[in-house]
Amino acid sequence: MQHTNTQDTLVGLFVAAGIAGLFFLSMQVSNLSSFTEHDSYTITARFENSGGLKVKSPVSAAGVKIGQVTGIRFDPKTYQSVVSLSIDVQYNNLPEDTTASIFTAGLLGEQYVSLEPGGSDDYLKNGGNIEITQSAIILEKAIGQFLFKSAEEKAEGKKK
């Protein structure tokens, strides 16, 4: 009887350790604890170019993550990229004239949407639209322009 009792305890310990491992993986390792979708509202923003933005990219205001991108589609009428942003419901006081920009975290990091609140007294509601946007900076374009410009300057310098 003693023997089976220790066995029971060990099996219990094993199962508890396994479940603790699963719990650790879901809480500490994955994004389960950081964001849940059901207590959020959705707004849309139209960009000329959304660059490398992806679904699930973070949305931040003043550097703090307040939501995530839930959808990106191309509007064939205006030729713009329509990005749906899901914002945590506790941040429901974003002014209507908030601007949205797409930035890159670090030089090679992932892209995210940054919201800068304006000064309006009316707040963005579920289904609202951000009017003022700034497109993603395409690195290749910027480098191309820089090279082109410096080559031009050199050529002008030679002429003089």
Partner: protein, 261 residues
């Protein structure tokens, strides 16, 4: 000569198909036997001990070392690109998606699967199984099904432990030894590992592996030639076939789960 070759080919094909048939029939018997295990949890508990608890140590220690190696190798490669901060993502993603389920299943096949085959094979060789049948005790319900269920339940737990310990090992090496920022290690991980896509799929993978490994181990034991040589061959076949099916299935599952991203 040609005829002989064709005969040989036909014979081996037929043999492998009949074996597959026997294995499938055996699986149906096992699964229908599970219902009679549930009212007797003591049978299951005993097998959980020998299949799960006794594999605990090898799984955690291997997990720790695999995680530490990942941390080390990942750091060397990532620091070339100045991206050491993403070490956590790399370690966690490779462990949770691939290495956790696969390596723990391979270890499980070697540690627990071979033991199951040898045990069942010896029971058959010493005619314990036919003895049970004589006493009107169904050996499938009494011996096989509890072991199958124990393997199926233990595998996801062991894989989760493997991944969890590995991630901690990667953190020990990464931020303890090599100086990756600890906060960045965890926060980058949390930002990039998805619960549904990564964790749940990893658990599903390990469930599939547990199912297949236990099935192969029990079938090889049950189907073995009841001599000492037959049992030793069956044990070898268990490990080889399990390894093949785990790696092959892993490819298929990965293609299905992470394909459309």
């Amino acid at each position: 000569m040609m005829i002989k070759f064709l005969q040989l080919l036909g014979k081996s094909t037929r043999a492998s198909f009949t074996k597959l048939g026997r294995a499938s029939f055996f699986l149906i018997q096992i699964v229908s036997g599970i219902a009679s295990v549930l009212p007797r949890p003591r049978l299951l508990l005993k097998q959980m001990y020998s299949v799960g608890v006794l594999s605990f140590l090898i799984i955690t220690i291997s997990g720790l070392f695999v995680g530490m190696v990942l941390g080390l190798q990942g750091y060397y490669t990532l620091s070339d690109f100045g991206a050491e901060e993403t070490l956590g993502v790399m370690v966690a993603a490779s462990l949770v998606r691939e290495l956790g389920p696969v390596v723990s299943a391979l270890l499980f096949a070697g540690r627990a699967g071979s033991a199951l085959t040898a045990e069942i094979g010896l029971m058959k060789a010493t005619e314990q199984l036919s003895g049970m049948e004589m006493m009107a005790v169904d050996p499938i319900k009494r011996i096989i099904s509890p072991r199958f269920l124990a393997g199926l339940l233990s595998m996801p737990l062991l894989a989760a432990l493997f991944s969890a310990v590995g991630i901690i090992g990667g953190q020990l090496v990464g931020s303890g030894l090599l100086g990756v920022d600890e906060g960045a290690y965890w926060s980058q991980m949390q930002a990039n590992i998805d619960f549904q896509d990564d964790i749940i799929n990893g658990v599903l993978k390990s469930l599939v592996f547990g199912f297949v490994t236990s099935w192969i181990a029990l079938f090889e034991g049950y189907d073995s030639i009841p001599t000492s040589e037959g049992v030793s061959r069956a044990t070898t076949r268990t490990v080889v076939n399990s390894a093949f099916s785990i790696l092959g299935l892993d490819f298929i599952l990965t293609a299905l789960m992470f394909g459309d991203d």
